[in-house]
Amino acid sequence: MSGVATTEPMLEATGVRKVYRTGALEVEALRGVDLRIHAGELVCVMGPSGNGKTTLLNCLSGLDSIDAGTVLVDGEDIHTMDDARRTEHRARRMGFIFQSFNLIPVFTALENVELPLLVTGVPAAEARERAAAMLARVGLSQRLKNRPTELSGGEQQRVAIARALVSEPAIVWADEPTGNLDSETAAAVLDLLREVHDAGQTLVVVTHDPTIGRSGQRLVQVRDGRVTADGAPRDILGGLPDGNGHDPAAGGRRGPRPRRTRPLRAR
C-alpha cells in the first residue's frame, strides 16, 4: 500500500481508558491507550479476541464513551462534545464498515449508500447520483435496486464499503471487514480497501487476518487493553504465522480476565 502520512496527527488519543460494568462485575477493556493516526494512513489493529480491539475502534470513533483520557480529532476532543454534536461529527467526518455489514434491510443498495449523504444535507438528486457512482466504483452498478437479502455476502460488504466512503469521510473505521466472507471474496474486499487507501483515504482496520495486518503500512497490536506494539507490520509480526503474537496451534484465548473491582470514582 502506498498511502501518504502527514506529520500532523488527524487523531490523537491519550490515556484512553474504558471499563464495562455489568452489575458488580467490571471489565477494564482499555487501560490507558495512547495512539496517533495521521491522515492517509492505513492502520491495522490486531490482537487476540476479547483484548479490546473493537472497543478501541468504538472509543476512538466516538461510538462509545470513555472513562478516562482524551480523543482529539482534528484537534477537537470528541468526548467533550454532547451527543448531538458528536453524532453530527461522525456523520461528516467518519465512515464505518462492520463484519456483519449492517445494511438496512428494507432499503435497496442505492438507498443504503445515499443515507450518509442525506443525513448531512446533500440534495436528494445529488445524493442519488453520488451513491450510484460509488456503487459503480465498487463494481455494483448492476445491483442498485437490489435489497440486501438479494445480494451475496461479498456484495453486501461492498455496499457497506460504498456507504462508508460515499460522504468522503476523514477516517473510515473497519471492524473485521472480511470476517464474514470466504477467502476469495475477502481478497476482493481487501483489494477494494487497498484501492481506497491508495486514493488517499485514512483507514483504520481491526482484523484477525494476518494477511490484512501485513498489508498495512502500520500495525497496532492490542493485548489486555493496552497497545503492546505499534510499528511496521514486518517488525511486529516477525515470523509468527497469525500476526497476533502467538502461535494459534497453542490454542487458548488471551483476553483480560473479568475481575471484581471497586466502583470507579467519577471522572
Partner: protein
C-alpha cells in the same frame, strides 16, 4: 359448553403432554417467556382484551337476566298464575272455583282488585305538591295475602297488620319514598272523576304480592318493572269512588274500570315453583271453563322466560358488537406471534438444523403461545367482570332516560358459569390462533432461516395456493348460490370469498398486482352493493351480518392498500429532499417492506374505526333530525298529553284551557297481536284515532298501499274501515337494531281481545317509519271500542296550541293543572329528543364498548413498536454510527406508528362513511323512509384525533428507547 370443553381439551392436550414428556420444549418455552418478562406482560395485556370483551358481554346478560328475574320476587312473590277479569263481581266465584277444592300442586289463591290512579300529597305551605301520575290502587285482604303460598315473608304482607279500614291506607315503600310520605301523613288519590284522601297507616316493602301492579307493561321489558307504587286501600273503596263522581276533572265514564285478579300460588316459593306451573295450568284453565272474559296468564313463567330472553339478547348484542374487537384481538395475536417468529428465525432454523422435527417446533412454539393465551384468558375474564360492571352502570342510567318507562333496579350478577364460558371462548380463540400461527411459522426454510434470508418460493407452495384458491372459488360460488336462494350470509360473503380465492388463479393470467386489484375491488364493492342489488334477501339483516360485512370490507380494503403502497414510498422519497424528511423515509420503509404485518395492524384499526364511524353516522343522523321526526309525527299538533287510565283528562277540559286551540283524543289499550313473524300472541299498544286527529294534518307515512294517493287518504280509509290499520316498522319487534321482520303495506295481522279472546284481522294500508311515542298500530277509534270495550281508554290527547304559545311552557302548565289526572303534557319535539337521547346513549355505550377494540389496536401497535425496536437494534446502531441524530430515529418510529394508525383510521372512516351512505340512501335495510345522510364531522374529528393521539402515545416509549440506543452497545451486541 360441552363443545367448548372438548375444543379446549383438544387444544390444550398437546401442551400438557409436551410439558410433561418433553423437558426440552418446556424449558425452551419457559426460558423464552422469562427472557423478556416485560414483553411477555405486554403480549398478555394485548391478548386479554378479547376475552375481557366476551366475558363482559356475558356479565351484562347475567345482570339484565338476574335483574328481571328479581322482579319475580318484587312483583309476584308466591304468585305464579294470574286470572284476570274486568268483571270484579266474578272474583269470588273465580276464587272459589280454584280454591275449593284446591288445584293439586297449588298452595293458595288470592283475589284482589286493582285500579290505576294518580296519587299526590296535599299542597304544602308553599302550595307545592308531589305526585305519582302512574299510581296503583289495590284492594286486598291482608290476612288472605299472608296466607298465599307457604311463606308469609315472601308475600310482602308479613308485618303489614290488618286490612285497612275507613280512611286508612297502606303505601308501598316505592310510592312512599317517591312522595316522601310516612306513617300518619295524608295521601290523596284521584280516580273516576273523584278524589279521596287517606291517612297513611303503614308503609310496607314493595315486594311479593304487595309489589304486584297488575302488569300491563309495554314492549320487551313490559313485565320487568320494580315493585309497584301502590296505595292499599280498604275493600269497597274503588266501587265507592266509581259510584260517586264529584266535580273533580275527568270523565268517569271513559276511565279504565278496575281489574279483578285471582293470584294462584304454585307450591315452591318464589323461584322453585316456576318449573311446576305447566302441570297446574291445565287444571286452572279447566276449572274456569265457561266463565266469560277471563284471561289466565302464567305470569311468573312468562317473567322468568323473559328474563332469560333479555339476558340472552344483551349477551348476544354485546358479544356481536364486541366481535369486531375480538377479531382485532385475533389479528394482534397473529401479529405478535409472527414477530416473535421472525425475531427468532435464526434460532428456529438452528433448532431444525440440529434435528428438531417440524411437529416438535410447532409444539414448542405452541407451548409458549398457550402460556401467554392462558394467562391472557384468565386476566381477560377478570377484567371482563369490571368492564361488564361499567356497562351495567351506564345501561342503568340509560334505561331511566327516554320513554321506555323501564324501572328495573339492576342487580349486578356475574355467574361463575358465564365467567368460565367467557374465559373458555377467549382461550379457544387464542389457542386456535396460536396453533395456526405456529404451523405457519414452522414451515420455514432451514437454510434461509439460519442465514436470516426470506423464504424462497417453492413449487409445492404455489400448487397448494392454486388448489386452495380453486376450492375457495367453488365454496364462494356455492355460498353465493345459497345467498340467491335467500341465505343472507351467503349473499353477502359468497362473492367476496370467491374473489379473494381467485387471486392465485387470476395471477397466473394477469400481472399479480392487477389481479389483486381487480378481485379486491369486487370484494370491496359487493358487500356494500348487495343491500341494494338483493334487497329482498338482505332486508332484516342483523348485527352479526354487519360484523361479517365489516370483516370483508376491511380485508378487501387493506389488501388493496397494501398492494398499492409504493405510492407512499415515492412520496416519502420526495419529502426526503436535502435531508429533510429522513425520519419519514425511515418510518415508512419498514411498514412498506413488512406488508403482512402492516396489513394485520391496518386491519385492527380499520375494523374498529369502520364500526365506530358507522355508529357516529347514525348518532349524528338521529340527533340532527329531531325537528324532522317531530314534523312527521305531530299531525299539526304541538303537545302530547298523557294521563292515568283511572282518571283520564277529558277532551272538553283540555279545550277549555286558554292555550289550547284544538284537541284530538286518542284511545289506548294493550291487546294481543299476531303477525306472520309473530305467531304467538304478543301484547303491544294500540291507538284508536278519530276525525279530529286529521283536522290539522296527518302523520307522515314511509309507505302506503297504492290505492291511496296521499297519506291523508290512507288515514281516512282507516277511520272508515275497522279492518284497516297503519303500523310502524318496529311493530312487534324485540330488541334493538334495524327491524328484523316487519309488516309491509297490504299485509295483514291480527288483534285479539285478551279478555274475550275475540280476534280481528287487520290490513296494513300504510307504514310509519318510526314509533317514537309507542303508539302501536293506529286504527279507527270506533272499531277499537267495538273489539276491546272499556279496555280502550282515551289516555292520550294530541293538543294544538293557539298561535304564539310556547309548547314546552304550555306543557308544564297543563301538567300542573291536570295533576289529578296524572297528566304529563310534553311537546312532540321534547319527547322525540328525549328518546333520541336514549338512543344516542346506547350508541355511545356501544361506541365505548368498541373503544376496547381500539385499545387492542393501540396496545397492539405499542407491542409491535416495542418489538420493532428490539428487532432493529443493530440497524438503529448503524444509523446512529453513520450520524443519524437521535431525534431522527425517534421521529422515524413515531412516523411509522402515525403512518399505520392514520392509514387504518382512514380506511375505517372511508369504509364506514361509504357503507352507511349506501345503506341509508340506497337500501331499505333501515326502513322504507328516507333517513337522509349526514357526515358526522365532529364525531369523525374525534375518531381521527383520539386513536391517532393514543397511538402516538403508545409509540412514544419505544421510540424514545430507540433514540437512546447507544450505537456501540447495539453494534457490539450484534457483532
Amino acid at each position: 359448553m360441552v363443545v367448548l370443553a372438548v375444543l379446549l381439551g383438544l387444544l390444550l392436550l398437546p401442551v400438557v403432554v409436551d410439558a410433561v414428556r418433553h423437558g426440552e420444549l418446556r424449558r425452551l418455552a419457559i426460558r423464552n417467556i422469562n427472557r423478556r418478562r416485560g414483553e411477555a406482560v405486554l403480549v398478555v395485556a394485548g391478548s386479554m382484551l378479547g376475552t375481557a370483551i366476551i366475558t363482559s358481554a356475558f356479565v351484562v346478560g347475567d345482570t339484565l337476566g338476574a335483574s328481571i328475574r328479581d322482579t319475580a320476587r318484587t312483583t309476584l312473590g308466591p304468585a305464579d298464575v294470574s286470572v284476570q277479569t274486568l268483571d270484579v263481581g266474578q272474583l269470588a266465584e273465580l276464587a272459589a272455583r280454584l280454591a275449593d277444592p284446591p288445584v293439586a300442586g297449588t298452595d293458595g289463591v288470592l283475589p284482589l282488585v286493582i285500579a290505576r290512579a294518580p296519587v299526590a300529597t296535599p299542597a304544602d305551605a308553599a302550595g307545592e305538591r308531589r305526585a305519582e301520575p302512574h299510581g296503583v290502587l289495590v284492594e286486598v285482604d291482608f290476612e288472605a295475602a299472608r296466607r298465599l303460598g307457604s311463606d308469609p315473608a315472601i308475600t310482602g304482607f308479613a308485618g303489614a297488620g290488618p286490612t285497612p279500614t275507613g280512611d286508612e291506607a297502606v303505601l308501598t315503600a316505592a310510592l312512599a319514598d317517591h312522595l316522601q310520605l310516612g306513617v300518619g301523613d295524608t295521601v290523596e288519590v284521584y280516580a273516576y272523576g273523584t278524589e279521596r284522601a287517606f291517612r297513611v297507616r303503614d308503609v310496607i316493602e314493595s315486594v311479593g304480592v304487595a309489589g304486584f301492579g297488575g302488569g300491563g307493561g309495554r314492549g320487551v321489558f313490559g313485565a320487568a318493572q320494580a315493585g309497584a307504587r301502590s296505595v292499599l286501600v280498604p275493600p269497597g273503596t274503588l266501587a265507592a269512588l266509581r259510584a260517586t263522581p264529584s266535580g273533580a276533572p275527568g270523565p268517569a265514564g271513559s276511565a279504565a274500570p278496575p281489574t279483578g285478579f285471582v293470584l294462584v300460588s304454585v307450591e315452591g316459593g318464589v323461584y322453585e315453583s316456576a318449573g311446576r306451573i305447566d302441570t297446574v295450568l291445565p287444571e286452572v284453565e279447566r276449572r274456569l271453563q265457561g266463565v266469560a272474559g277471563v284471561q289466565v296468564t302464567p305470569v311468573k313463567q312468562d317473567l322468568l322466560e323473559q328474563a332469560d330472553a333479555v339476558g340472552r339478547q344483551f349477551t348476544e348484542l354485546f358479544s356481536t358488537v364486541g366481535g369486531f374487537s375480538v377479531i382485532a384481538g385475533v389479528l394482534l395475536l397473529v401479529n405478535i406471534f409472527v414477530m416473535l417468529a421472525e425475531e427468532r428465525k435464526v434460532e428456529l432454523g438452528m433448532l431444525r438444523a440440529v434435528g428438531m422435527k417440524r411437529g416438535r417446533l410447532v409444539r414448542g412454539f405452541g407451548m409458549e403461545g398457550a402460556a401467554y393465551a392462558t394467562a391472557a384468558a384468565v386476566a381477560g375474564a377478570l377484567v371482563g367482570i369490571g368492564v361488564g360492571r361499567v356497562i351495567v352502570y351506564v345501561t342503568e342510567g340509560l334505561f331511566s332516560r327516554g320513554d321506555l318507562g323501564i324501572d328495573v333496579t339492576f342487580r349486578f350478577a356475574a355467574e361463575p358459569a358465564s365467567i368460565l364460558t367467557g374465559l373458555a371462548i377467549g382461550l379457544v380463540i387464542s389457542l386456535v390462533t396460536v396453533w395456526a400461527t405456529s404451523l405457519r411459522i414452522s414451515r420455514l426454510n432451514v437454510i434461509a432461516a439460519i442465514r436470516d434470508l426470506p423464504d424462497p418460493p417453492g413449487v409445492s407452495h404455489r400448487t397448494r395456493s392454486l388448489a386452495l384458491g380453486a376450492a375457495g372459488v367453488v365454496a364462494g360460488g356455492l355460498l353465493f348460490a345459497a345467498g340467491l336462494a335467500g341465505a343472507r350470509a351467503g349473499a353477502l360473503a359468497g362473492l367476496p370469498i370467491a374473489a379473494f380465492s381467485a387471486i392465485p388463479l387470476l395471477a397466473r393470467l394477469l400481472p399479480r398486482r392487477l389481479a389483486v386489484n381487480v378481485l379486491c375491488a369486487v370484494a370491496l364493492v359487493w358487500p356494500i352493493a348487495v343491500f341494494s342489488v338483493l334487497p329482498g334477501v338482505m332486508d332484516g339483516a342483523d348485527i352479526a351480518l354487519f360484523v361479517v360485512q365489516g370483516v370483508l370490507l376491511v380485508a378487501a380494503a387493506v389488501t388493496l392498500v397494501t398492494v398499492n403502497d409504493e405510492a407512499f414510498g415515492q412520496l416519502a422519497e420526495r419529502l426526503s429532499v436535502a435531508g429533510r424528511g429522513l425520519s419519514m423515509r425511515l418510518g415508512l420503509a419498514y411498514p412498506l417492506a413488512r406488508r403482512f404485518r402492516t396489513a394485520l395492524l391496518l386491519g385492527m384499526y380499520a375494523l374498529v374505526i369502520f364500526t365506530l364511524t358507522f355508529m357516529a353516522v347514525f348518532s349524528r343522523l338521529f340527533a340532527e333530525q329531531a325537528p324532522r321526526f317531530t314534523e312527521e309525527v305531530r299531525a299539526g299538533h304541538h303537545l302530547l298529553v298523557e294521563s292515568n287510565p283511572g282518571n283520564p283528562v277529558s277532551t272538553e277540559a283540555l279545550l277549555e284551557q286558554p292555550e289550547v286551540e284544538a284537541v284530538a283524543p286518542i284511545l289506548r289499550a294493550f291487546p294481543h297481536f299476531t303477525a306472520h313473524y309473530q305467531p304467538e300472541p304478543m301484547p303491544w299498544a294500540v291507538t284508536g284515532i278519530d276525525e279530529r286527529l286529521l283536522a290539522h294534518g296527518v302523520p307522515v307515512l314511509a309507505s302506503r298501499v297504492p290505492e291511496y294517493a296521499t297519506d291523508e287518504e290512507a288515514f281516512r280509509a282507516v277511520l272508515a274501515d275497522p279492518g284497516l290499520a297503519v303500523v310502524s316498522e318496529f311493530f312487534l319487534q324485540r330488541g334493538g337494531g334495524p327491524p328484523i321482520d316487519r309488516l309491509r303495506s297490504g299485509q295483514t295481522f291480527t288483534m285479539i281481545n285478551p279478555a274475550s279472546g275475540e280476534a280481528r284481522e287487520l290490513t296494513v294500508v300504510g307504514v310509519l317509519s318510526a314509533d317514537w311515542m309507542f303508539t302501536g298500530p293506529m286504527v279507527g277509534a270506533g272499531g277499537l271500542v267495538d273489539l276491546l270495550g272499556p279496555q280502550a281508554v282515551p289516555t292520550r290527547h294530541y293538543v294544538r296550541l293557539a298561535a304564539g304559545v310556547e309548547p314546552d311552557e304550555a306543557g308544564v302548565a297543563l301538567t300542573g293543572r291536570f295533576l289529578a289526572n296524572g297528566a304529563d303534557a310534553r311537546s312532540f319535539e321534547t319527547i322525540i329528543r328525549s328518546n333520541l337521547s336514549q338512543q344516542e346513549g346506547f350508541i355511545g355505550l356501544m361506541e365505548g364498548f368498541l373503544g376496547l377494540g381500539l385499545l387492542i389496536g393501540i396496545a397492539g401497535l405499542g407491542v409491535v413498536m416495542v418489538r420493532a425496536v428490539r428487532e432493529r437494534r443493530r440497524q438503529i446502531g448503524m444509523l446512529r454510527a453513520m450520524g443519524f441524530p437521535a431525534r431522527t430515529v425517534r421521529g422515524a418510529f413515531l412516523l411509522e406508528a402515525t403512518f399505520i394508525a392514520l392509514q387504518g383510521i382512514l380506511i375505517g372512516v372511508t369504509l364506514g362513511l361509504v357503507t352507511s351512505y349506501q345503506l341509508l340512501a340506497n337500501s331499505s335495510t333501515f326502513g322504507d323512509s328516507d333517513l337522509g345522510f349526514l357526515v358526522p364531522w365532529a364525531g369523525l374529528a374525534v375518531l381521527l384525533a383520539v386513536p391517532l393521539g393514543a397511538s402516538l402515545l403508545a409509540a412514544a416509549w419505544p421510540a424514545g428507547q430507540a433514540s437512546r440506543i447507544r450505537p456501540a452497545v447495539a453494534l457490539r451486541i450484534a457483532e
